[in-house]
Amino acid sequence: MKALPLFPITTVGSWPRSIELLRAQKLRRQGTLSEEEFERVADKAVLNVLRLQEEAGVDLVTDGEQRRDNFYSFVAAKLEGVRLMTLAEMLNLVEDTVSFERILRTLDVPSYSISNATCMGKVRRARPLAVEELRFVQKHTDKPVKVTLPGPYLLTRSMYLSSVSSKFYPTKEDLAEDVIQVLSDETRELIEQGAAFVQFDEPVLTELVFTQGQTRTFMCAALAARKDPAEELEFAVSLINRVVDAFRDSRVGIHICRGNWSKNEATLLRGSYHPLVNYLNKLDVRQLVLEYATERAGDILYFEDKELGLGVVNPRIERVESVEEIKCSIERALQLYPPEKLWLNPDCGFSSFSNRPVNSSDIALRKLRNLVVAAQSLRP
C-alpha cells in the first residue's frame, strides 16, 4: 500500500444517496426489488461516490455507506437473530415511549421511515457485515479503504429491546457477549482482506454524559434503559477493548459525535469531550475520530498515544468552510498533536440515515475539496 501523506484525509463514512438509490432501498424493503437488482443500483452509486472522493483528493476512501439504510441498522440483513423493525412497529414495545415520541417529533420523520435492528433471537453472523462492501471498493480503486461499522456498545444498546430480546438474553450485558464475537470476527476478516482503517461508530457515548436530566436525542439509545452513566461508560470501554484487543497492530479507530440527524445545531447535544477523557484514554484503539468543526464540541483535547481524526468541516451546515478556516483548525490541533498523529475528516457522515441526508452531495464535495487544499498547503 502506498505510504500516506502527512495529514491523511478521509471521510467519516456516509455520503448522500441519489433518489434512484433511495427508491431502490424502499422497493427492496417492500420486497418488490430483488437483491441482485438492488446491488446493481447500489454498485453504480458506490462507484459514483468513489470517483467523487478520488477527484476531491481524499487519501482513504469509503463506499459512502450507500448500501446501508442507516449507519447501524443494516446489520439486520447480515445477522441471525436480528430483525429490522420500523419504529412504527416498535411504538408499543419501547420502554420510554414519551422520550421516543419526542425524538420522533424532533426528527420530523414518520415512524415508518426509520428502522432499527432489533434482537429477536440468538445473534450470530450469518454473513459478513461489510467484507463484501470492502471487496467491491478495492476492486475499483487503488486508494486504501476505510470501513465503518457500528461499535459494540451502540449495537448492544440499540438492538436490545427488553420486551422481545429478554427471551434470548436476560440482560443487554448478555447480548453484548455475542455482539463482541460478531464484531471481532468481522474486524479480523476486514483486516485480512486489507482494510486500511476500521472505524467503529459509538455516538451514544456522548448521550451518556450530556443528557443527564435532559431529553434523550439518540433514537438508537432510547430503546434500552441505561444504568448509571459511569457504569455504562466502563461497560462501553470494556466492550470496545474486547473487540479491538487482537488488532492493536492495525489501524482501528472510534468515531464519537453528538448526533447527526438534524441540521438544527440547537437540537443536538453540546459539551466538550472532557467528561469522556478518562474513558477514551483507556481505549486500545489507534485513532479517535472526533468532531471539532462544530463549536458544540468545545476546545480540542489531547489524548495520550492516539492519533486524532480531526473534524474540520461541519457536515450539517450548508456554508462551505474556507481553506483558511480549515488551516486555522489544523494549526490549533498542531499545538497539541505532532503532525504525524493528525488525520483530517468532516465531523461526521453526510447522511448517517439514508433518507435524511444532512447536506447535498454537491456541498459535501465542495467541503472535501477545501479540506484537501488546506491539508496540501500545510504538507512539506
Binding site: 433518489i19 424502499k26 412504527a88 420523520v109 414518520p110 415512524s111 415508518y112 421511515s113 433518507n355
Partner: protein, 151 residues
Amino acid sequence: MEMEKTTWNLRIVTTGREPATAYMRKHQFTVGVPLQFDPEYPHITALEYALGALAADIVGGLQVISHRRRLKLDNVEAVLSGELNNPLTYLGVVGETGHPGLERVNVTVYVSSTGSEEEIGLIWEEMLQKSPLVNTLKRAVKLDLVMKVVI
C-alpha cells in the same frame, strides 16, 4: 327528491367512576376525564380522542380517496399537536382569562407512495374538501395542515 338527513348516534355512560363507556353501532370504547396534565393518567381523555379522531379522519380519508383513484399509498402517518387557548382556565385558576378550548391544531402528514408528488397532491386536496372533521374544525380553531411526501 329531498334526501333524508343521516344522523350518527352514540350513547356514553358513566356510573360515577372513570372511565365512561361510549356505545355506537355494535362497538364501544372507554373515555377518561375531559383532559389531563398527568402523563401517567391511565385513560385516554376526551380531548385526546377528539384529536385522535381528527388525525384518523385525515389518514383514513387519504387512504379511501387514493383507493378510489387507484393510487397505492404505501404509508400514511400523521403527527398532531393541539394547543388550548388557556389550560389554566380548565383548572379554575383565579384571575386567568381566555377559555379552555382548542386554540390551534397542527397536523403534519407523511405520505409514501410510488405515485408522483402531483398525484399525491390531488389526493390531499380532495381529502381536505371531503373530510368531515377538517371541515368542522377549520371553522373553530386555527388548523394548520401540512403534507410531506417521503421516499
